[in-house]
């Protein structure tokens, strides 16, 4: 039901309701009309019968009057009176016949004063004329009675013949015949039957009827008893009229109106009403459709209007002719639209503009850039970062910072007046899209902008200078979509900061490296988890005896797609991405496991493990090492942890604390890559280290470089002076090995001795080194 109602809609419901209402009302009116019409027809018929009754009385009375007048003329006729006076029977009879014929009587009798018959036109016995009738006639001037003779009804009139005294009586009979019935029927519009109970003891006999009635066809009319005013008949409305009685019996006239004829009228009216109702319903339907259309159209217009509003168009409000609620709705919609538009504009402005400077924001710029990429329109991009905005905000307040930004943005506007778009894309970062130009011109513009941005700015009447970093890119050469753009802008800014240059151009490929790094960072994680890293071990030999002392654990990563990844690269990335601790722990565990394994295989060597600078700032490192190497099969000092010189110098205090804790474990601490950093010797003196590892850059060509020889020899001496052992790495040849040997270096390491080897090759390497021990050992000492 509800679904149907929904489907037919407002207009449909309106039409249905109106048509139903009209149908109801018309059917009701129609039905009432039919009922009333039926009653009306009936009462009209009865009314007509009443009129017919009066009319019948009147017609008969007038006929009687007319007959009396005629008879009076006859009885005043001198000749007639003379004939009566003559007393001659033949004369009387012929005069009677003649004169009654003049009066139109159907029969006539002449009686003397005493009522004795003088003459008659009838060939049968005279009807019974009562003496009282004559007396009445004498008193009233005439007498009237009804008689039935030979199945016919007569009105019998008696008038005196005076000359001038009473000489005789003239009795004349006028038949109540079909002519009379027809006259009455014609005048009254009803049918009439005359009947009498005379001569028929059982009931009535009809003796005349109007010609439209075949009385024989409806015997019920004749058989019904008298005394009832109405005769029940299936075919007629009837009324019985008593015409009078004689000694013979009653005379009646029956007035009838055909039910069929009356109701025929009624039926034709009913048909007309039905047609009228149908016409009204059609008309109402059409009207309802028109009205619904008229009423529904504004609603549809409003619906379309609302839809258009919803689609974000800005349509004109429909012109609604009907007033009232719909107009109100239209106005409300229009106002809502206006408010929506305003709010949307505000939101859009807020979404695309920076509230401090009024410039566009990152979204707006990216949108512009997207448009540019879509159309392929080349353009240039200049980015500007205020280097120390947070310092300004911290020291001078955010309000001041905002004023600085505002002043700067004005300068940007002035300087880059031809910019497609200038946006503040971050705290102190501005990006501007400029028309495409040559790299030289772009560089020049960047320089001009830099100069303008760094010239003193008047903020609150105070000259204020900014330091800024600028970058520039050429689109779409340097970036072909917004992701690249965003990434490369950042990359370039970072690069600029790293390089400390005021203006930096994006160099193609930088971003690809960046992406590779990102991939490595993400893959490193899984590599650590899934044992995707390999451990190689490089032997460290006693420089004096050539004996294998330690194996330096070196981590290697063969990336499934990118192949060999240098440890420097992925360790750096691990440090950058915060995975270095995880990596260190992993390496510690691997090394510990491997060391235990080779110990059980009979290899008696210590291990050296490199620590990252960041490991030193990790408070839990010592505990970690202790846990990993718990139950170590050697003394702990055969575990050497190598730390780069620079790592120690970044945060000496924290590093010192960590080193002390490690030292407490008993492990040997070594300063890796010694000589490349800015080592403070005073610091070095305080460090709890036992070993210095001279950087291989000094060792690789030691045999040929006198300066290196000087440095290395001095370092060895100094280290020994400080009580530290010295390790030299990067020994490429026997000469170097021997030189170091001669200088008292404690431990040596390098390709000349052995490349880093995998865990599997370890036993073989150890065996071959054992074979070379004799060659490597210090013969001089042996000999001495």
């Amino acid at each position: 039901m509800g679904r149907l109602a929904n489907r037919i809609g407002f207009r449909g419901r309106l039409v249905t309701a109106m048509v139903a209402l009209v149908a109801l009302v018309s059917l009701l009116i129609g039905a009432l009309l039919m009922v009333y019409l039926f009653e009306d027809e009936k009462s009209r018929a009865l009314e007509q019968l009443t009129i017919a009754e009066r009319l019948t009385n009147e017609v008969i009375a007038r006929r009687t009057d007319l007959e009396l007048s005629r008879l009076n003329v006859v009885v005043r006729d001198f000749g007639f009176r003379s004939a009566i006076a003559s007393r001659d029977p033949a004369t009387l009879s012929s005069a009677l016949e003649n004169h009654s014929g003049r009066a139109g009587a159907d029969f006539a009798l002449l009686l003397d004063q005493r009522g004795e018959l003088l003459a008659s036109t009838l060939r049968r016995d005279l009807p019974d004329i009562a003496p009282s009738q004559l007396t009445n006639a004498r008193q009233n001037g005439s007498g009237r009675s009804l008689l039935a003779i030979d199945q016919r009804g007569y009105e019998v009139l008696t008038v005196p013949v005076e000359a001038p005294g009473l000489r005789a009586w003239l009795v004349a009979g006028f038949e109540l015949d079909q002519d009379l019935a027809d006259i009455i029927a014609r005048l009254s519009g009803s049918s009439i039957i005359f009947r009498t109970s005379a001569d028929s003891p059982s009931g009535f006999t009809s003796f005349a009827a109007s010609s439209d009635i075949n009385s024989a066809m409806d015997p019920a009319l004749l058989q019904s008893a008298g005394g009832h005013n109405f005769i029940e008949s299936a075919r007629y409305f009837t009324r019985t009229l008593n015409l009078g009685a004689s000694g013979q019996g009653a005379f009646e006239a029956i007035l009838m109106i055909s039910r069929e004829a009356s109701l025929q009228n009624y039926y034709s009216r009913a048909l007309e009403i039905a047609l009228l109702v149908a016409a009204i319903m059609v008309f109402a339907t059409v009207l309802a459709l028109l009205v619904a259309r008229y009423l529904g159209r504004p609603v549809l217009q409003l619906a379309q209007y609302a839809r258009a509003v919803g689609q974000g168009l800005n349509p004109h409000a429909p012109n609604i002719r009907t007033g009232g609620e719909l107009l109100q709705l239209r106005d409300t919609l229009r106002d809502t639209l206006a408010q929506l538009s305003r709010r949307e504009a505000e939101i859009r402005h807020a979404a695309t503009h920076d509230e401090v400077t009024g410039l566009g924001n990152r979204n707006a710029l990216m949108h512009m850039a997207t448009e540019g990429f879509r159309t392929g329109q080349p353009c240039s991009l200049i980015g500007l970062r205020v280097n120390d905005l947070s310092d300004i905000n911290d020291t001078l307040g955010i309000e001041f910072g905002d004023k600085v930004l505002l002043g700067l943005s004005q300068r940007l506007r002035d300087e880059l007046s031809d910019a497609h778009h200038i946006a503040r894309t971050g705290g102190g970062e501005f990006l501007a899209l400029l028309p495409a130009c040559s790299p030289e011109a772009l560089d020049q513009r960047a320089k001009d902008l830099h100069a303008s941005a760094e010239s003193p700015l008047n903020v609150d009447s105070t000259p204020f200078s900014l330091r800024t970093t600028l970058i520039s890119m050429r689109l779409p050469n340097d970036a072909s979509n917004t992701n690249e753009l965003r990434r490369r802008v950042n990359l370039t800014f970072e690069q600029a900061v790293q390089q400390g240059s005021a203006i930096t151009l994006y160099e193609p490929g930088q971003d690809e490296n960046h992406l590779r790094e990102l991939k490595l960072i993400s893959d490193l994680h899984s590599a650590i988890r899934n044992n995707g890293l390999h451990m190689n071990y490089q032997p460290k030999l006693d420089n004096h005896t050539g004996k294998l002392l330690q194996l330096e654990a070196l981590v290697r990563w063969i990336h499934p797609e990118l192949g060999f990844i240098s440890p420097e690269e992925f360790i750096f990335l691990a440090e950058q991405s915060g995975q270095i601790h995880e990596l260190t722990d992993h390496i510690l565990q691997r090394v510990a496991d491997d060391a235990r394994a080779w110990f059980h295989e009979g290899l008696d060597v210590g291990v050296a493990i490199n620590l990252s600078a960041m490991d030193l700032t990790r408070p839990g490192l010592a505990e970690r090492v202790a846990r990993t190497f718990a139950g170590w099969h050697h003394s702990m000092d055969r575990i050497t942890l190598e730390v780069t010189e620079s790592a120690l110098m970044d945060d000496p205090v924290e590093a010192m604390a960590t080193l002390n804790r490690l030292r407490d474990l008993g492990v040997t601490l070594s300063v890796d890559d010694f000589g490349t950093g800015y080592s403070s010797l005073s610091q070095l003196r305080k460090l709890p280290v036992q070993e210095l590892k001279i950087d291989k850059s000094f060792v690789l060509k030691l045999n040929a470089e006198p300066q290196d020889q000087l440095i290395v020899k001095s370092t060895i001496d100094m280290a020994h002076g400080l009580g530290l052992k010295v390790v030299a790495e990067g020994i490429e040849n026997l000469e170097t090995w021997k030189l170091l040997q001669s200088w008292g270096c404690n431990v040596g390491q390098g390709f000349f001795l052995s490349r880093p080897v995998s865990r599997a090759d370890l036993m073989q390497t150890a065996a071959s080194l054992l074979e070379r021990q004799h060659e490597l050992a210090d013969m001089s000492q042996e000999h001495s």
Binding site: S82, A163, P164, L166
Partner: protein
């Protein structure tokens, strides 16, 4: 139609056993409350009246007098004093006659030689009516306004009968072609007493003049 019963109060006010006896009769309408004026009362005694010659004039389309009493054998002229002709006739058995349309005076008078009531009419003026009462006796009279009439009875040498037939006639009798006959006991009339005999009388016709005023004026022109 209303019926009026007229009581004839016949009372012998005075009875004289001599040759001439006077009989006074009063006729009244009992229920109509009033005497009957102009009723004719006569009886057959032994007196005879001598014939006379008189006339019934037609004037203003009326007969004058309306009721004429004449002895048997009298001659009556019917002079016409109207400016229209008249056709005077009678179908009464006592004297049928017919004076066809005439003006002025007919050539000869009509002789009424039999007693009886003779109704006169005019064939072209139906309303014109008059009566001539032809009587053998002198004992005839018309009631006065009190409905009384006195008859002088003359029985001659014969002794006075015990009963007497009184003929009473009035133009408004239901059958005015003959008198009604009432027998009264004369012997009982010795005292001053009365007997009543009911007879019927037609009601008086409406007193429309035979001519209305305009017609009269027209006639006089």
């Amino acid at each position: 139609m209303t019926k009026q019963t007229v009581l004839l109060l016949a009372g012998c006010l005075l009875f004289t056993p001599a040759l001439a006896e006077e009989l006074t009769v009063r006729i009244q309408i009992t229920d109509g409350t009033g005497p009957v004026t102009g009723a004719l009362v006569f009886t057959q005694d032994s007196s005879r009246a001598a014939p006379i010659q008189t006339e019934v004039v037609q004037k203003d389309r009326m007969f004058h007098p309306h009721v004429l009493i004449i002895p048997t054998g009298s001659k009556v002229d019917f002079p016409n004093r109207d400016n229209t002709q008249h056709h005077v006739y009678s179908f009464s058995p006592a004297k049928p006659f017919n004076l066809e349309l005439y003006a002025g005076k007919p050539e000869a008078p009509v002789v009424f030689d039999q007693p009886g009531i003779v109704e006169l009419g005019c064939n072209i003026h139906d309303h014109m009516q008059a009566f001539i009462v032809v009587a053998d006796t002198r004992a005839i009279g018309q009631t006065n306004e009190q409905g009384e009439v006195s008859l002088l009875l003359d029985f001659g040498s014969a002794p006075a009968p015990g009963a007497l037939d009184l003929n009473i006639w009035h133009p408004r009798l239901p059958d005015n072609t003959k008198p009604v006959i009432r027998e009264i006991d004369v012997t009982s009339l010795a005292g001053v007493s009365a007997t009543s005999i009911p007879i019927e009388l037609d009601p008086e016709p409406r007193h429309d003049g035979p001519l209305d005023h305009l017609q009269k004026r027209f006639q006089e022109l």
